[in-house]
């Protein structure tokens, strides 16, 4: 009786991309007129915002492989993200031919000139912003690291400058060994247990010590939080962790649910999964997420059962709905650039409707904890081991999925799950939906449709025919010309720093030291970060509105389309992080950051910032401001802010004593980290 709405056939990636040069040629006319106003770094008459090689002149804008990078700056012939030996082999094979792919300069022949161009880009990522032969400045490095890590440090800025190649930095990050959260959380718990039960004299009565570690034992969320803060600030695999953090705000589970508040190990295990597949394939990640007990508990897919008409029981729709709405497709059909499609009335087109949700709800039936029977108390379930199918509770009737794909009856829970996730994964919304969401987590709240389209195209095909390659997607997000050029390309480029990232950046920039025995649930031998907030670092969410895996609902801390009333909303822009930006969270964040700058001391009870380098510059205000500008505002500080700081530091009220010098350093940091220029990452 239902006539499913027809959806357009999935556009093959190259069809869409073919259109790009056409758009550009139209754009050239417009751009030539407005080039100066809009910024045209290479002076080829094509505005930077539109230029497919913005750092080197290419008036023809040729883009033979349709990847959005002009031939002139795209010596990455096999589209693996870097110009390397493979590309040398390919240009050698094409030598003397007409190209056109390897004809970089457009003279209709692949010759020594083109080889020379390739050499200039060797070891680099291709793309509009790629600059042949020019070193990455410290400011550029700091800006990149602000986007790609939990905050730049002097060491990391040097490392990236030495590499002189963003793509190579990403390669190294991907190759690094991975932080393990479950191991870390369990070992901290075990350390506390050992300390509590073996110390002489006993620090606590034995019956107040925790139970010994066991496979199915779980405990209050804080052991995961302790480990997360340590690793976010100190961990070496920064890019992977930053991606896991981004994914944790899309594939949301939260300890605010009564089912997960007492589940440090379940949460840690879930976070391990996000880290493990941070550069993996989204299809695999979706399946692992669907079958993780933390998600199973959070969105009640665990023990979801087939219909029982006698008792008016239907399958639970919770996971099915949020999978489609929040994890994969969104409620409206999207164009390949993430903009909304519209029907004849000018209305957005629903991606699915309630009947679709009910069909998917029937798919996701018959899954249970791996270690206990269906009816046993869920508290005994192992929250760190993938769920398993239980045939008796699975709905085996046929199902109608998205885009009129029909699933035959009689299949197992695993077969149905595989087919349903394949069905979702193949939907054309997925690339642009996820691209838009991820871009907002890393670089800007307001990407141009073209930026979304370029990233979505990489999601659709990583250059080797693979769909859903998250490593390639992240590389595309960070290396995109819009990401690298920032406000030079798009004046509104950037995002409000979320409270957690303000904290991590401060801690990383100034080498914050965790405190031995710094919380009630760790022994004196274990150091953790803490804060003087009313509930400690592990509980700051109550004050600043955010903590890891702790959003108020599956809708994350902020909606991707949130726009605060006023100029932002009126301009049609979004600024998701402002949803958390209320009088009390603003004050709490500022007070928390300033406390660490102002009061924490070496050897004291609170997380201590090491300001020794800054202190050595206190008598050279200009140098002090330069250093802070690099670490905090990526060298982009305005002349006005700089002048305010220099005037402040020139105030004779500071004594020349150590205390006065420290006062200067602290004041400069506090003024910067609470300035609008810092608060908006650009």
């Amino acid at each position: 009786m239902k006539t499913p709405k027809s959806a357009p056939p999935r556009a093959h990636a190259w069809i869409r991309l073919r259109a790009v040069p056409a758009v550009c040629s139209l754009a050239v006319l417009l751009a030539v007129q407005s080039a100066r106003a809009a910024g045209d770094a290479d002076g080829d008459g094509v505005a930077d915002t539109l230029d497919n090689c913005s750092a080197i002149a290419n008036l023809d804008q040729r883009d033979t492989d349709g990847d959005g990078f002009g031939n002139r700056c795209d010596t990455d012939l096999n589209n693996d993200g870097v110009t390397n030996g493979i590309d040398v082999g390919l240009i050698r094979a094409a030598f003397g031919s007409a190209g056109p792919l390897a004809d970089f300069n457009g003279d209709k022949v692949v010759n020594g000139v083109d080889v020379g161009i390739l050499r200039a880009y060797f070891g680099k990522a291709p793309g509009p912003g790629a600059v042949p032969g020019e070193p990455i400045t410290a400011q550029q490095a700091a800006r990149f690291l602000t986007q790609a890590s939990f905050g730049p440090t002097a060491t990391e800025i040097s490392r990236l400058q030495t590499l002189n190649d963003y793509g190579a930095w990403i390669d190294q990050e991907i190759a690094k060994s991975r932080t393990l959260y479950l191991n870390g959380s369990r070992s901290m718990y075990a350390d506390y247990y050992t300390w509590c039960t073996t110390t002489v004299p006993p620090p606590l009565p034995l019956d107040q010590c925790p139970a010994p570690l066991a496979d199915t034992l779980d405990t209050w969320r804080d052991y995961f939080r302790h480990v997360w803060w340590l690793r976010a600030v100190q961990g070496q695999d920064q890019l992977r962790q930053r991606m896991a953090f981004a994914l944790s705000q899309i594939l949301v589970v939260s300890d605010k649910s009564p089912n997960l508040a007492d589940s440090a190990f379940g949460l840690a295990s879930y976070y391990d999964l996000l880290g493990r597949l941070a550069f993996g394939n989204y299809r695999e990640l979706l399946e692992e997420v669907a079958l993780h007990p933390a998600m199973g508990l959070y969105l009640s897919m665990l023990r979801n059962q087939k219909a029982d008409p006698e008792r008016n029981v239907r399958p639970d729709e919770n996971f099915a709905r949020e999978l489609l709405q929040l994890f994969t497709l969104g409620v409206h059909e999207l164009n390949a650039d993430g903009t909304l499609k519209h029907d004849a009335f000018g209305e957005p087109i629903p991606t699915y409707d309630q009947t679709t949700i009910q069909e998917f709800a029937r798919v996701f039936t018959g899954w249970n904890f791996a270690n206990i029977p269906w009816d046993e108390w869920q508290g005994n379930g192992n929250r760190t081991v993938k769920m398993v199918p239980v045939a008796a509770y699975h709905d085996t009737a046929s199902k109608l999925l998205l885009q009129n794909v029909s699933l035959p009856g009689g299949r197992s829970a695993q077969q149905d799950l595989d087919a349903a996730l394949d069905n979702v994964f193949a939907h054309p919304n997925l690339g642009p939906f996820l691209a838009g969401q991820l871009i907002k987590r890393f670089t800007t709240s307001n990407p141009t449709p073209a930026y979304v389209a370029r990233v979505a195209a990489v999601f659709n095909d990583n250059g080797s025919g693979v769909r859903g390659d998250l490593g390639a997607v992240l590389r595309a997000i960070l290396l995109d010309r819009e990401a690298r050029q920032g406000t030079a390309a798009v004046p509104s480029f950037g995002k409000l720093r979320e409270p957690v990232l303000r904290m991590t950046q401060l801690f990383r920039a100034f080498g914050a030291r965790p405190v031995p025995g710094g919380d009630w649930d760790v022994p004196p031998t274990v150091a953790v970060f803490n804060t003087p907030s009313s509930r400690g670092l592990r509980g700051i969410d109550a004050d600043i509105g955010q903590n890891v895996l702790s959003s108020p609902s599956v809708f994350n801390f902020f909606r991707p389309d949130y726009a605060p009333a006023g100029p932002i909303a009126s301009a049609g822009l979004t600024a998701p992080e402002f949803q958390l930006w209320t009088e009390n969270t603003v004050m709490a964040s500022t007070n928390l950051l300033n406390f660490h700058v102002e009061y924490a001391e070496s050897g004291g009870y609170w997380t201590y910032l090491n300001l020794s380098t800054e202190l050595s510059l206190a008598t050279q205000p200009a140098n002090l401001v330069d250093r802070l500008d690099l670490l905090l505002t990526n060298g982009s500080m305005s002349a006005a802010l700089r002048q305010t700081l220099l005037s402040r530091l020139a105030d004779p009220i500071y004594p020349s004593s150590a205390e006065g010098r420290l006062g200067k350093v602290r004041d400069a940091i506090e003024l910067i980290v609470n300035s609008p220029e810092y608060l908006v990452q650009k």
Partner: protein, 476 residues
């Protein structure tokens, strides 16, 4: 573009397509939504609204159960394993409604005539039947305008607060905020905030000019500790002045401009609020400080207690109790939340009595949707029409206002494999509401003093319903 124009334009197109009798002229009042068309500066009494947002989709089926035995039997047959036993229900005056056993304090207020229920409410743009929704599913179009993205938390949450569908670039002005834009004229001190949220950002209190001031429940208004005018360390006043200089600059980047104005606004308003609250009277009515919900309401009471000192005649408050998305463990979680809700409302109403504003403050609940009447085992899923609570001395209490949701065990058809339980069922016990959030809001707005053409400006769908006042407030 203003969101209401979106709605009316689309509405118009749909009507055109459907050949509706309501023509363009009926839409005209909606097309121009400006600030106050009426004058509110003459309001001299004190009134405020306290909005209790039940975040997650509160199940009213198990909260307010039909008590008459024939209707109870239908309920129990449909709710099956999650039905509340009749013997444990607490019948209210008139024996129409049996309150959930966790709602004893709410029943007390109901029986005292200080609390009423408003039945069968939900997001709705115009009267409609389930068939309209089925048409929409099947053809992508319908003769009536249907609230979009039904059953989605985020979209329905926005809709109860805005009464129109937000699109990129539309100004998200909620019906509370738009009341605030107008009623601010009544306040003696218009530089002091009119709207307060104890639960973060929300669209309900956001108007064209109105913005909620956010207060941390259970705490005094803090200050920017290191940017104060304290004399220690000696350079703190200088640091503080420099920060003021930084915030006062104009910023070309729209996000920086927003951050700057939010920071400086927070600084100014917090200083005002803190000073005012320092003189707040002691409140002696007990409350449970362990409950986040009760802490919010206690903070509201404190803010109300200083209304005269700060020159307030009209105010809006927003509090929240979350956790109602009971897809599983429904009986336990829902039951616990009802206890917290009931105790909070009861203690709050008693506090208002202590402050002698019992009839000047009206508290009301809303939630994005009710839950399915049928179950998924140990839980329920997203539904639509439900019942809400209104509380206060001005409420026509002790009654259920409106026609209750009509459900029936008699099979009235089937859609997409779901049995339809009654003529309003869209499947599995997700009922089309009889009354819209526009009507609910307009009834409250009328009590607050909104008049004339401002109703249709604030409530863009009100003209589509024959009853602009649901009658749950006592006649003035």
């Amino acid at each position: 573009m203003d969101g209401s124009n979106e709605v009316s334009r689309r509405d118009f197109l749909h009507r055109l397509a459907a050949g509706s009798a309501l023509g363009f002229a009926a839409q005209l009042p909606l097309m121009s939504r400006a600030l106050a068309a009426e004058n509110y500066s003459g309001l001299s009494d004190y009134k405020s609204l306290v909005c209790v947002y039940l975040n997650g989709g509160m199940d009213s089926h198990n909260a307010f159960v039909p008590y008459a035995s024939a209707r109870y039997a239908e309920y129990a047959a449909l709710r099956q394993g999650l039905a509340i036993p009749r013997a444990s229900l607490l019948p209210g005056t008139g024996n129409v409604i049996g309150f959930h056993p966790g709602l004893a304090p709410v029943r007390t207020l109901f029986n005292e005539g200080k609390l009423a229920l408003v039945a069968n409410l939900g997001n709705l743009f115009e009267p409609m039947a389930p068939q309209h929704l089925f048409d929409y599913y099947e053809t992508g179009n319908s003769a009536v305008e249907i609230p979009h993205e039904l059953y989605s938390h985020s979209h329905q949450t926005e809709l109860i607060q805005l009464n129109f569908i937000r699109r990129p670039g539309s100004i998200a002005a909620g019906w509370g905020g738009q009341m605030g834009d107008r009623l601010i004229a009544a306040n003696v001190n218009q530089s002091f905030p009119l709207a307060y949220t104890l639960a973060g950002s929300n669209y309900w209190q956001t108007g064209l000019n109105t913005r909620p001031f956010s207060v941390q429940p259970g705490q005094d208004i803090p200050r920017f500790e290191e940017f104060s005018s304290d004399s220690w360390p000696p350079w703190e006043p200088g640091r503080s002045a420099s920060w003021g200089e930084i915030l006062a600059r104009s910023y070309a980047h729209p996000l920086e401009a927003q951050a700057a104005s939010a920071m400086s606004g927070t600084r100014q308003r917090s200083d005002l609020m803190r000073a005012a609250l320092a003189g707040a009277p002691q409140i002696t009515t007990p409350y449970n400080a362990e409950s986040w919900f009760e802490s919010q309401l206690r903070s509201v009471a404190r803010l109300i207690s200083i209304r005269q000192q700060v020159g307030m005649r009209r105010q809006l408050f927003f509090v929240e109790l979350g956790g109602w998305d009971t897809h599983s463990q429904h009986l336990q979680w829902h039951g616990e939340l009802l206890v917290e809700l009931a105790n909070g409302l009861f203690n709050f109403q008693r506090t208002l009595q202590e402050l002698a504003v019992e009839s000047s403050v009206t508290t009301f609940t809303f939630t994005e949707f009710n839950r399915t009447l049928t179950i998924n085992g140990d839980g329920t899923d997203h539904g639509w029409a439900g019942d809400q609570i209104v509380m206060g001395g001005a409420v026509d209490g002790g009654k259920v206002h409106g026609t209750p949701i009509a459900y029936s065990t008699a099979n009235t058809g089937e859609h997409w494999g779901d049995t339809l339980f009654g003529p309003a069922d869209t499947g599995a016990g997700r009922f089309v509401p009889q009354y819209s959030m526009d009507q609910y809001g307009a009834t409250l707005a009328k009590w607050m003093g909104i008049k004339g053409t401002d109703f249709n400006a604030i409530f863009p769908n009100l003209a589509n319903f024959t009853q602009p006042d649901l009658g749950f407030m006592k006649p003035a």
